[in-house]
């Protein structure tokens, strides 16, 4: 298969080269060497308060439950009480990005939850780990960035912070450090950067899983989480 496909690749590329020799479509400018990636003029809210209020508003507009701007220990208590209210027994926690996740672990264990954590696993352990994660009632993850203009979290996967934390359990809680709030999608992609993107699985998450496939009626929780809660972490000395 290998060799024949290499031949196919070269054939297709040759065909494209020939095709491109025909004149460019009329009325369209010739390709310029200029930077096509310059962000369009978006007026970003440029201070923290505006970013926070914009994020909270947009996050709620996509059916997210905004828990507030909280210090780490407050966030831990809030998440623990959320788990209790939801009757969550098994909870999965991913490693923090800037926040010490053990705070959350302690609070949740104090609330009577069984806490699942993840580290480097062998391939053989994978199916069991996925099963465990799928059985969890709630998961807590920290995002790398959050986008104020769309109410979006950018979550980056790693061995101790699986991407499916925010996919499999029916209740998802995502926190983000206040310094990592950015104005728009362009800024989020710039902050993530090409190196991080090519080395990790990542998702931009804007609200709970949803569908409008039956008569365009919005139903939440079709495959991913039915509920998504978000908090902004602002350490007291920060």
């Amino acid at each position: 298969m290998g060799r024949s496909n290499v031949a196919e690749f070269h054939k297709i590329i040759a065909r494209l080269k020939t095709a491109l020799e025909s004149p460019a479509p009329s009325g369209t400018p010739a390709p310029s060497s200029g930077d096509s990636s310059e962000p369009a003029p978006v007026a970003p809210p440029n201070n923290r308060a505006e970013l926070i209020s914009s994020f909270a508003r947009e996050f709620e507009a996509v059916s997210g439950g905004f828990l507030g701007v909280l210090a780490p220990d407050e966030a831990a208590r809030r998440i623990a009480s959320l788990a209790q209210e939801a009757g969550a027994r098994m909870v999965a926690i991913g490693e923090g990005v800037t926040t010490d996740a053990s705070l959350f672990t302690h609070a949740l264990e104090g609330a009577g939850c069984v806490v699942e954590k993840f580290g480097k696993l062998d391939d053989g352990e994978r199916p069991a780990a996925l099963e465990r994660l799928a059985r969890c009632d709630l998961a807590v993850a920290e995002a790398h960035y959050a986008i104020a203009s769309t109410g979006t979290f950018a979550v980056v996967g790693a061995p101790a912070r699986p991407n499916s934390l925010t996919l499999l359990p029916p209740i998802s809680v995502i926190v983000v450090h206040v310094d990592r709030l950015v104005a728009n999608v362009a800024q989020a992609l710039a902050a993530l950067g090409p190196d991080l993107v090519s080395a990790h699985r990542l998702s931009l998450i804007t609200g709970p899983s949803r569908t409008a496939d039956i008569e365009k009626r919005i139903v939440l929780g079709v495959h991913g989480p039915k509920s998504l809660y978000g908090a902004i972490i602002w350490p007291r000395n920060g």
């Binding site: 025909s22 010739a30 978006v42 799928a134 699986p162 993107v197 804007t206 039956i214 008569e215 139903v219």
Partner: protein, 482 residues
């Protein structure tokens, strides 16, 4: 993927035009969609600037598609993906089927992908003994019905909640309900176990970033994310036109795609897949195979006018805006890609069997106005029509050029007649007298040959006894110009 011949299209559209229930459903869904889009655009002042930016990036990317694909291949391979170029749908299918056999794969879950519909992948995998489950709710519904999707974004747009309720009651043995929540919950339960038991995941791709070797899959439900995360083997299928140069280019597309496709600011999930899972991770497949399909696209590239069709980002908005699509629905087109954009690209992808589709348009331009990358769809429709009539194959040569010649001769005769006012008045009187016997309730619904083709699909209003010409003439004589 076969396209039905012109006669079948004519029959199917006549049936659809008479189906008022279908109109209600299409109208309902399309109106909601267009309202949401209008609102999303109005709330986002930079929308027009983002449209221009996205258009420019597409122009530049397509103009150096060869280089970008070489870079994409290299970067994907560096990230650990297997990259396969398929010149034809058959090559793409064969690769995936032989991969399934080699890896002894049994159960496949699929995220929504028009490109896999285009290559007829489900049938091929089914024949090879795999159990294939569509996991997008709309796709799952049409798969249970044994139908193809009727819209590229909303596959079950032609069905009401009652239709889905009856379907689930019959096929899934659940008590009948027409509540979208209950129906969705049932689908969630069944599909969750399909995800956890699958060994092959398949999705389409919205954008492929050459710079980073990254596939971007945009979706709302989470099924695409499941399909590329849980099974051990993952296959992504994309057309060659999906490549964009840089990560920083992506934001322009994300800012316009969801706003136009669904009226959202951003879809719920935008997934970035750059390779198989890394050591120690539990997420992601062991193998990633990226199938990059030409399938007629390089021919579009070679045609200076058609090249513009490769800018399409498959948002589906032109379908909802199209008065023809809104009347006949997606199934009548009998092509993977219905509606205005489908009418342009289907002849290139599926051959002259789809050559009649570009004629199913009123050229009203609603599609051009809504297109987020400003594709001049009416211009392309005219171009494809011209190409279809000029470069027709043997069978088509029998029908179209003759029709063209007849039309041309008729216009020449009319032009000659129109130079003689007296003659034209006389002809109008004769015409009126001849039409009289066919009129019923103010309309002529059936005319004898050779005019019967006209009344097959249209009702002709009975001409008023006094013509416009006569009225205007009288007014001029009385010194009052209306």
């Amino acid at each position: 993927m076969a396209v039905a011949p012109k006669a079948d299209f004519f029959e199917a559209s006549l049936r659809a035009v008479a189906d008022h229930e279908l109109h209600r459903k299409l109208q309902n869904a399309s109106d909601r969609h267009l309202d949401h889009v209008a609102q999303a655009r109005a709330e986002f002042p930079p929308f027009e600037a983002e449209r221009d930016a996205a258009r420019r990036i597409k122009e530049q990317s397509i103009a150096r598609l060869d280089e970008l694909l070489i870079e994409l291949k290299r970067r994907l391979e560096e990230n650990g993906c297997n990259v396969i170029f398929a010149a034809t749908a058959e090559q793409a299918r064969d690769y995936i089927v032989s991969l399934a056999k080699k890896n002894r794969l049994r159960r496949a879950v699929k995220g929504k992908s028009m490109t896999t519909e285009e290559i007829g992948l489900n049938q091929a995998l089914g024949t090879a003994g795999l159990e294939v489950t569509e996991t997008d709710l709309g796709e799952y519904i049409v798969q249970l019905r044994g139908e193809p999707p009727s819209h590229i974004i909303t596959p079950a747009i032609h069905l009401s909640k009652e239709d889905v309720g009856a379907l689930f009651a019959e096929k899934l043995n659940m008590p009948y309900t027409a509540e979208p929540e209950a129906l969705t919950a049932e689908a969630r339960k069944r599909l969750r176990s399909a995800f956890l038991g699958a060994d092959l995941g398949i999705t389409g791709v919205n954008f492929a970033i050459a710079e980073t070797g990254t596939l971007v899959v945009v979706e709302n439900e989470g099924n695409g994310r499941m399909s590329c995360t849980l099974p051990e083997t993952y296959v992504a299928v994309l057309g060659i036109e999906k490549v964009i140069p840089k990560l920083s280019d992506l934001s322009h597309f994300l800012e316009i795609l969801a706003r136009t496709a669904t009226g959202q600011k951003l879809t719920t999930y935008t997934n970035f897949i750059s390779g198989p899972r890394r050591a120690g991770e539990i997420d992601g497949p062991r193998e990633v195979h990226v199938v990059i399909l030409d399938g007629g696209r390089s021919a579009m590239l070679a045609d200076a006018v058609m090249r513009e069709a490769l800018y399409c980002i498959r948002c589906g908005a032109c379908l909802n805006a199209c008065p023809v699509y809104r009347r006949i629905g997606g199934h009548a087109y009998n092509s993977t890609y219905p509606g205005p954009i489908g009418s342009i690209i289907s002849p290139s992808l599926f051959g002259s069997a789809a050559g009649h589709l570009p004629f199913a348009s009123t050229l009203c331009g609603a599609c051009r106005d809504i297109c987020p990358v400003r594709i001049d769809i009416p211009r392309l429709l005219l171009h494809v029509r011209w190409r279809e009539t000029e470069t027709a194959d043997e069978t088509r040569a029998l029908a179209w050029p003759r029709a063209t010649a007849r039309a041309r001769a008729a216009v020449v005769r009319f032009a000659r007649m129109a130079r003689h006012p007296r003659l034209i008045r006389m002809m109008a009187r004769i015409g009126l007298a001849l039409l009289g016997p066919f009129a019923r309730d103010g309309y002529v619904r059936r005319m004898p040959p050779p005019f019967n083709n006209w009344t097959k699909a249209r009702d002709f209003p009975v001409p008023r006894p006094r013509s416009h010409h006569g009225t205007a003439n009288g007014a001029v004589k009385r010194g009052r110009v209306p």
